[in-house]
């Protein structure tokens, strides 16, 4: 060691040190990208709206600015009531799923984990199916029955799976995964059974299919606002859990030796992740791939510390889903395709590209 020159030593260290992009830079870049994606997505559609107009309309909306309208008043309606809810909804869903995915991957110490792994998807799907069968179209006037039942279905299923996996006050990860898989298949079977028993001529199969493949069907602000409250609450809670998530990566025994009440934290993390997933599902249906891949992409860029991983995943997921939604609205316009198609079609090749480009073995 002593014989090495400082030069060769620093070279050696550089080659052994994994170099990530610093967190502030990546957060700045991601925030700006998110803003641009939002603007772009609002501007593109059946009527193209210039970016400047959008900015002015939005700034007028804050009531702090008073630009003289040089545009048709219908443009304002389109921006505020048609496109913005969808775009903001996409951003929320993307952020929620990406963070939930990171939480599940962290707590289950499993790179294949995604937000739907322990029953959320089948629970939400069963709830949604029920909403198509039941005679109520909406609860009150504000909330579509599909959203409410999907949310309730997702939460109930996760709690049920968790209760099933609990043995003598412990919830081993393997049991949790297996209970999730089993309950998933039972609920899917129940859903199929329901569909077979109610072959109503006017059953909206197409609508259910679209929901299941993931579509951001938002027609008013209220569901978006409720989802926004839940997702932001979930985000704040998730950010408070970063240290616990890191420690849980050491294994449950070591985490206990560090003074953590592992069972309580595990349950808390599952609740936060499921709440975010359920909030997302309630306004979007089942959108795959975002929750699985976004955290991996962020780990490749930033490293695995949850302190940087979680906020970056939230921003990255939001951008990803806004762009996927934009594609789904424009590719065969005026028809709208389910977003889930594009998250997989675009996301998968991008992820594979990143994975192959990183020269080291990816240890997630």
């Amino acid at each position: 060691m002593k014989t090495e020159t400082p030069f060769s030593r620093s070279l050696l260290e550089q080659s052994q040190r994994r170099r990530y992009i610093p967190l502030p830079i990546i957060l700045c870049v991601l925030s700006i990208s998110l803003l641009l994606a939002l603007l772009l997505s609002v501007s593109v559609g059946s009527t193209a709206i210039p970016l400047a107009t959008i900015v002015k309309v939005v700034l007028n909306g804050t009531r702090l600015f008073h630009f003289v309208p040089s545009w048709d008043s219908s443009i304002e309606v389109i921006i505020w009531n048609v496109r913005m809810p969808v775009v903001v909804g996409s951003a929320l869903v993307g952020a929620a799923l990406a963070v939930a995915g990171a939480l599940f991957q962290g707590i289950l110490r499993n790179p294949l984990a995604d937000p739907f792994l322990i029953g959320t998807s089948s629970g939400a799907a069963l709830g949604a199916t029920l909403s198509f069968i039941l005679p109520v179209a909406a609860l009150g006037t504000l909330f579509p029955a599909t959203a409410v039942l999907a949310f309730v279905g997702a939460i109930l299923t996760v709690l049920f799976v968790y209760a099933l996996a609990r043995v003598q006050g412990q919830t081993p990860v393997v049991t949790l995964l297996l209970a999730g898989v089993v309950v998933n298949s039972v609920l899917v079977a129940l859903q199929t059974l329901l569909l077979s028993l109610f072959p109503r001529a006017d059953f909206p199969f197409q609508a259910l299919f679209n929901w299941l493949s993931g579509e951001i069907a938002v027609t008013s602000w209220y569901p978006v606002l409720i989802a926004a409250v839940l997702v932001l609450l979930g985000l704040v809670l998730a950010l408070s859990l970063t240290r616990v998530l890191d420690a849980l990566a050491l294994g449950e025994e070591s985490a206990t030796a560090l003074g953590l009440n592992v069972e309580a934290w595990k349950f808390g993390i599952v609740v936060v992740a499921s709440l975010m997933t359920a909030a997302a599902v309630s306004i979007s249906g089942l959108i795959g791939f975002v929750g699985l891949v976004t955290p991996h992409v962020m780990r490749l860029l930033l490293g695995p510390e949850h302190r940087s991983l979680l906020p970056a995943s939230a921003l990255g997921g939001a951008i990803f889903l806004i762009l996927a939604d934009l594609l789904s609205r424009t590719v065969i316009a005026p028809a709208v395709l389910p977003v889930g198609i594009f998250t997989a079609l675009v996301g998968a090749p991008f992820f594979l590209f990143l994975l192959r480009r990183s020269k080291r073995e990816y240890r997630w």
Partner: protein, 453 residues
């Protein structure tokens, strides 16, 4: 100089409440017990090595002491207060654990790993570190010698470096006790020595009390002034010279070893046996003792005092007679805790009964589990083996009522009947240990006389 440090530590030790203590701790995962009534006390400043064969429950004991497992019965005391009454964080601020190996799924850097050691101290909502935390992390990395590795990925380090990082992580907890679970298990000799030197430095310079489970008896002898030999319970707890007794090691590990001081060394060494030389072999046992539940305690001590080599068994691990036999008997036939005597173990008993000259049957409580032992004893007696039956003193007038079931018989008379048959087969009944010993000496003398003819 070494001696000086040790005496000073010895003085500190005597006066205070034990730092970490186990009191009659019993533990098992399901119905089977792994540890039975373990008691030990570790004083501030001690450096203790925990030895024992694979599966002897060393790791379990460490987990109990660190609060990862809860004892089924008994208590773990930290600074004189029960572990359960401390908050989990408070325990983690005092006891740190270095695991044997750590599987880390993520590519965390060394610095980040060491920072995790501060977990029990950080209370802010978003988990940000204070200046004290940063200092402690720097200090821990410096002491463990991993400061140079700070930005490296933990998973990409060598085994020895990783072990030092785990020690640094534990040091960041600023613990008063460090529990290490076979810290040298996967390391080559250089890193083994490096790791133990580090641990000793922590003990001497940084006043960290150490309890380490170890496999290597030689390293244990060299680095640890106090050793605990463990097999589901404490077999021996003393200095290396007493614990590394070849006879004791042979009974606990089931292998012959030589212990001695190598030329040019200041410490005991444990070596594998030299096969050609038979001098290490103990005397052939001439007496078999069936005991249990404390019924054989006085008898076994008497035999040992009289230098009569004996076999004891079958005895369950955790039975007080078992622990004593490990010290006194030439050979111990061992059965799992609380388990009925299995057929494999019975075969060992049968083989032993064929090779000895005398069987001594202590007044052991008879249950379904050990009834088979009495049957073996009866077969041996009928074959012509001399048997001495040690009975509890019977008050006068009761002597004739042999038809009555003995109070220590829990088998509805089956055991009593076997004892009757034993008497009929010619067993000598005695009512005191001294009488039994006299009788045994006489029988053995006759035996030697016969064999000499």
């Amino acid at each position: 100089m070494v001696a000086e440090t040790e005496t000073r530590q010895g003085l500190d030790v005597a006066s205070s409440v034990p730092l970490l203590q186990a009191r009659d701790v019993t533990f098992g995962y399901n119905r089977q017990e792994l540890l039975h009534e373990v008691s030990l006390a570790i004083q501030t400043g001690e450096m203790v090595g925990l030895l024992g064969p694979n599966g002897s429950g060393k790791t379990t004991l460490l987990r109990l002491l660190s609060g990862i497992f809860q004892p089924r019965n008994g208590q773990i005391l930290l600074e004189g207060r029960e572990l359960r009454q401390w908050g989990r964080r408070d325990v983690a601020q005092r006891i740190a654990v270095v695991p044997q190996e750590l599987h880390m799924p993520f590519a965390f850097t060394v610095k980040h790993m060491v920072e995790m050691g501060r977990t029990p101290f950080i209370r802010s909502f978003f988990g940000s570190q204070g200046s004290r935390d940063r200092e402690a992390v720097q200090e821990a990395m410096a002491i463990a010698g991993v400061a140079d590795l700070a930005e490296r990925i933990f998973n990409e380090l060598s085994g020895g470096e990783r072990q030092r990082v785990l020690v640094a992580m534990a040091l960041a907890q600023e613990p008063s006790v460090l529990l290490l679970d076979e810290p040298t298990a996967h390391l080559d000799i250089k890193y083994q020595i490096e790791t133990l030197e580090l641990v000793r430095r922590l003990n001497r310079e940084h006043k960290v009390t150490v309890l380490a489970a170890l496999h290597d008896l030689n390293l244990a002898a060299r680095y640890f002034p106090r050793l605990i030999l463990f097999q589901r319970g404490i077999v021996a707890d003393s200095n290396p010279a007493e614990v590394l007794d070849p006879a004791l090691l042979r009974r606990v590990y089931g292998v012959d070893v030589q212990v001695g001081i190598m030329r040019g060394s200041a410490h005991l060494s444990v070596l594998p046996p030299v096969l050609e030389e038979k001098r290490g072999l103990p005397e052939r046992p001439v007496v078999h003792v069936i005991a249990g539940g404390g019924s054989g305690e006085v008898m076994m001590r008497a035999l040992a005092d009289a230098h009569i080599p004996f076999v004891a068994g079958a005895l369950n691990i955790g039975d007080s007679d078992h622990t004593l036999a490990l010290h006194l008997a030439t050979e111990v036939i061992t059965e799992q805790p609380y388990a009925p005597i299995s057929s494999a173990v019975l075969d060992q008993v049968r083989a032993s009964l064929r090779s000895v000259a005398l069987l001594i049957l202590c007044p052991v409580p008879i249950g379904a589990g050990n009834l088979a032992l009495l049957r073996e004893a009866l077969f041996a007696a009928q074959r012509g083996l001399s048997v001495i039956m040690l009975e509890e003193q019977v008050s006068e007038g009761q002597e004739e009522s042999l038809e009555a079931i003995l109070p220590r018989d829990y088998t509805e008379g089956k055991g009593t009947r076997l004892l009757m048959l034993l008497r009929q087969a010619g067993a000598t009944v005695v009512t005191s240990v001294s009488e039994a010993l006299e009788c045994a000496k006489k029988q053995l003398a006759d035996e030697t006389f016969l064999s000499l003819q």
